[in-house]
């Protein structure tokens, strides 16, 4: 049997990025994937004449050719070919301000345009918005510095160059907004993005918020022309070109050790010998099911226990393929966020309480950004929301479809109430994905695609600072949402690359 340098377990976003990074470094790399498709969430499915995007709303940090973001640069560096479509606006949000006023605003991409729109909706906000963007820029630069130093950042450099990052980074976003004295309505509009990070403004670290939101606003957002399956296939094809191997429908059942060092993986296609594993699997599952108990360090057991299975968003998405062009349905926006209020803590509580208390969904029409998203004369829309743990833990298989459709109907009705848009009477194909669906295809714990919540003590920066302490298993690193960057496509790509580079370093050090 062959001996691989690296086996990447799980061809999700982090796994794909890690695999290419290893292959580019000349490592003999095998990817094994339990499903028959690459990508995990980054995939697609067919219904009738439609091909549906399952998860990606917008990819952060691609940026235009003239101002490429980190993701576009990474794709270029990897040699991936993807056709991108620009998402026209940041978002439209239909909700209520905390002062009770009606909120219906459309925020464009581009920092100046965004500030201009904010000035229109919240007159006098510009000086404070200028400060906010300056602060977010400093934080982006600071994170880039810390990431590049891989846990060895010089505190003098940090103090000198990024003092505002140091002074604000450890606080929740809400507190920083208040410290900046951002007008309340401004804060309400800016809070819209919290859903993409899955943590409310009271618990989301500002550094995490700033890192993402600045990128979305400054460089706009993009989607691939042919669903995120196009992205995942682009990774795999390039990986193959670089000599990488991929086995689909191959599930890692157990990690095999020689002494305290990982040396193999037992799968349904036999035992694979390898020097290293990059496991795109949640550590709860690795430690709970896939390796000998005696090899799990005490601190790692404590880490798992401290996280108390607080997984981030369990996504519910209903997909509708319609037999009319979107213009005829009165749809104008790519994405409409429809929280009931702009109090994110309250929304989060309601969303995760039960489907009956949850009134918040994000409505998307792919064709607005990508006219080729579906056959001529048709369009594809979706609703996405977080779902309550108890709803999906307690439902029985025989009541499962009924619950799926009840929730989907509620959001169709809410859309009509909030925007006047009706989809019924034009639905040619539909599908509903719940935490069960994500558990089925990804085996993500409790169907949560966001990993452990990046909140409070376990935020992004704290994880980043402790990269070298977490997961001290010889010959293995978990990658993906349990990593420092938490959830999201771009985070997973970046995290996969970062951890693969550390693995390559480990391998090279040992070989010397």
């Amino acid at each position: 049997m062959k001996l691989y340098d690296v086996v990447v377990v799980g061809a999700g976003n982090a796994g794909l990025s890690a695999a290419i990074t290893c292959a580019l470094a000349g490592k003999k790399t095998l990817v094994i994937e339990q499903h028959n498709l690459p990508g995990g969430c980054a995939s697609s499915f067919r219904r009738g004449r439609f091909e549906i995007e399952p998860s990606l709303h917008e990819l952060c940090d691609v940026g235009p050719l003239s101002n490429p973001g980190d993701v576009r640069k990474m794709f270029d560096e990897y040699g991936l070919k993807v056709e991108w479509c620009e998402v026209p606006d940041c978002f439209r949000v239909v909700s209520k301000y905390r002062d009770g006023g009606v909120m219906d605003v459309t925020m464009p991409s581009g920092i100046e345009a965004f500030k201009d729109a904010m000035e229109k909706y919240v007159p006098g906000s510009r000086p404070k918005m200028d400060e906010l963007f300056e602060l977010m820029q400093e934080i982006l630069d600071g994170i880039a510095y810390i990431t590049a130093s891989a846990g060895q950042a010089d505190s003098n450099v940090l103090k000198e160059k990024y003092p505002n990052m140091l002074r604000t980074g450890a606080y929740p976003t809400q507190q920083v907004f208040d410290a900046l004295k951002l007008p309340k309505r401004c804060q309400d509009i800016l809070s819209t993005y919290w859903g993409y990070l899955g943590v409310d403004m009271e618990h989301l670290s500002f550094i995490h918020y700033a890192a993402m939101v600045h990128k979305y606003i400054s460089r706009g957002a993009y989607i691939p022309k042919h669903t995120s399956h196009e992205l995942s296939n682009a990774f795999i094809e390039r990986f193959r070109e670089l000599g990488g191997e991929i086995w689909f429908n191959c599930r890692a059942e157990e990690f095999l050790f020689t002494g305290d060092r990982l040396t193999g993986v037992r799968t349904n296609l036999g035992v694979i010998d390898t020097k290293y594993v990059l496991a795109n699997i949640n550590p709860d599952i690795i430690y709970g099911k896939m390796m000998p108990k005696e090899l799990i360090p005490e601190r790692e057991k404590k880490l798992v226990a401290a996280r108390k299975r607080q997984f981030g968003a369990r996504i519910f998405t209903a997909y509708f393929c319609l037999d009319v062009p979107y213009e005829e349905l009165g749809i104008k926006d790519y994405s409409i966020f429809m929280p009931e209020s702009s109090d994110s803590a309250e929304e989060y509580k309601n969303m995760t309480g039960s489907w009956e208390t949850n009134d918040y969904s994000i409505f998307l029409c792919y064709n607005v950004a990508n006219p080729d998203a579906s056959p001529e004369g048709t369009c594809i829309c979706s609703f996405t929301t977080f779902s309550a743990v108890d709803d999906w833990n307690n439902v029985t298989p025989e009541k499962y479809v009924e619950l799926k459709n009840k929730v989907a109907k509620k959001f169709l009705w809410k859309l009509k109430e909030k925007t006047g848009i009706t989809l019924q009477g034009h639905i040619e194909e539909m599908s509903v994905a719940t935490p069960w669906t994500f558990a089925r295809y990804l085996n993500a714990p409790e169907g949560s695609v966001y990993g452990y919540e990046t909140r409070d003590w376990d935020g992004m920066m704290a994880r980043m600072m402790m990269l070298s302490q977490d997961y001290p298993i010889k010959g293995m690193r978990p990658i993906g949402t349990a990593g420092p960057r938490g959830d999201g496509y771009s985070s997973a790509y970046i995290c996969g690359q970062l951890l693969a580079k550390l693995a390559i370093k480990d391998l090279n050090t040992e070989e010397v």
Binding site: R46, P163, N268, K409, E446
Partner: protein, 403 residues
């Protein structure tokens, strides 16, 4: 002026708070108990129950419909626990070993979803010309035999947000089975729609499930059955084929049409349905099944007829070379060679057999090309609906069956 943001009263303390993030995190970790890690999760367990890798069942009853050349097999979980629940209209992919071949065949579940809770499914197998697997099962599948089936598959089911409240089912021969399941589901209160079945059979004697259907429609006014006999004229029956005219006669307002039957029926209806002027969303068709006579399809290279090609097959760590007859799908070639290739719908639709065509060319009939855009772009094929027209190198996926 340089930006100077402080959240707390003293900026230096804010900085300390930043620096201390790692310390605070470590304290939170150390304060937790060093418990054994539990890798099981409720939703993951439930998702696995609904979608197991495969199910091992036994034949617990065989009902012989001698005149129709068909048998119903009642399949049961040996431990009596529920089998994976399903939506009326879905199918199972049966996995069998015949000789040295590992094959699959999709069969609609004909029983009510309610029966799944008692650990049982019913499927009906009808003899058909050249029906290798059907004939094998009719002869060799007996009481007590084991059989491996997939989780329930397919999208041929009622969806209230999408479909009209009145379903007009057009069934031919054993294509009645998904509708029998729907009728039973309506009877059991699981489904709520109205179902009218136009059921085409050759003669009265050859009607499958005549009594069962009659009984359901007696106790359940939502279900109506109209028999259409093609080879016989009798009072109380419609006769001829299921034409647009006949469909119009039974089509109510707020209706969707569901079609399931043999290929000849689909071909005939392809000419009739457009006459009704219905939007696409109101007409749904069950998967087509294996393409027969691929050489008759437009664009098929005639020079390939009768040829045999070689496929180099890579599957995980294994590599083999196998022969492949031009007229048979790549999947059939894999199965004949004893390779445990994944497959389910055998109609190009579900994509479970998705494989990478590393080199060589295949012919894919357009109507069964259910591939994703990026798969077409990067030369992935669905072997069940692809026919070799040259030697091939193919990477196939693994399977989860116990070896």
């Amino acid at each position: 002026m340089a930006l100077n943001v402080k959240v707390g009263l003293v900026g230096a303390l804010d900085m300390l708070k930043f620096k201390n993030m790692a310390k605070v995190r470590e304290e939170a970790i150390q304060a937790a108990p060093a418990r054994e890690v539990d890798g099981n999760f409720t939703i993951n367990t439930k998702a696995k129950e609904l979608h197991p890798d495969y199910q091992e069942l036994v034949v617990c009853k065989v009902i012989d419909y001698d005149k129709a050349g068909a048998k119903t097999f009642v399949l049961k979980r040996p431990d009596g626990k529920p089998v994976a629940y399903f939506r009326a209209g879905q199918y199972l992919s049966l996995k069998m070993q015949i000789g040295t071949s590992f094959i699959t065949r999709p069969y609609s579940i004909s029983s009510s979803p309610k029966l799944a809770l008692e650990g049982k499914y019913c499927i009906t197998v009808k003899t058909n010309p050249g029906g290798f697997a059907a004939d094998y099962m009719l002869e060799n599948l007996h009481l007590g035999n084991k059989i491996i089936v997939s989780d329930p598959q397919g999208q041929f089911y009622y969806e209230d947000l999408r479909d009209g409240y009145n379903i007009l089912a057009l069934a031919g021969g054993s294509g009645i089975t998904p509708f029998l399941s729907m009728a039973r589901a309506i009877r059991d209160g699981i489904e709520k729609f109205n179902l009218t079945i136009l059921f085409g059979s050759r003669t009265e004697d050859s009607i499958l499930f005549k009594e069962e259907l009659c009984e359901i429609s007696k106790v359940c006014p939502k279900v109506k059955v109209v028999h259409v006999l093609s080879d016989e004229e009798k009072d109380g029956f419609e006769h001829g084929f299921i034409t647009a005219e006949l469909i119009r006669k039974y089509l109510l307002d707020n209706s969707s049409i569901f079609i399931c039957g043999p290929e000849a029926m689909y071909r005939f209806l392809d000419g009739e349905i457009p006459k009704l002027g219905l939007p696409k969303r109101l007409v749904r068709r069950e998967i087509l099944g294996v393409t027969k006579h691929v050489e008759d399809h437009e664009g098929y290279p005639a020079e390939c007829i009768g040829k045999t090609f070689t496929i180099r097959v890579c599957r995980g760590p294994e590599e083999t070379e196998i022969p492949a007859a031009a007229g048979e799908s790549v999947l059939v070639a894999l199965e004949r060679a004893g390779i445990k290739a994944p497959s389910r719908c055998r109609s190009g639709e579900c994509g479970w057999c998705r494989s990478k065509l590393v080199s060589g060319d295949v012919f894919i009939p357009e109507e069964t090309d259910g591939r994703r855009w990026a798969d077409k772009e990067h030369n992935y094929i669905h072997p069940c609906a692809s026919f070799p027209v040259s030697d091939l190198v193919l990477e196939v996926a693994g399977e989860y069956l116990e070896q």
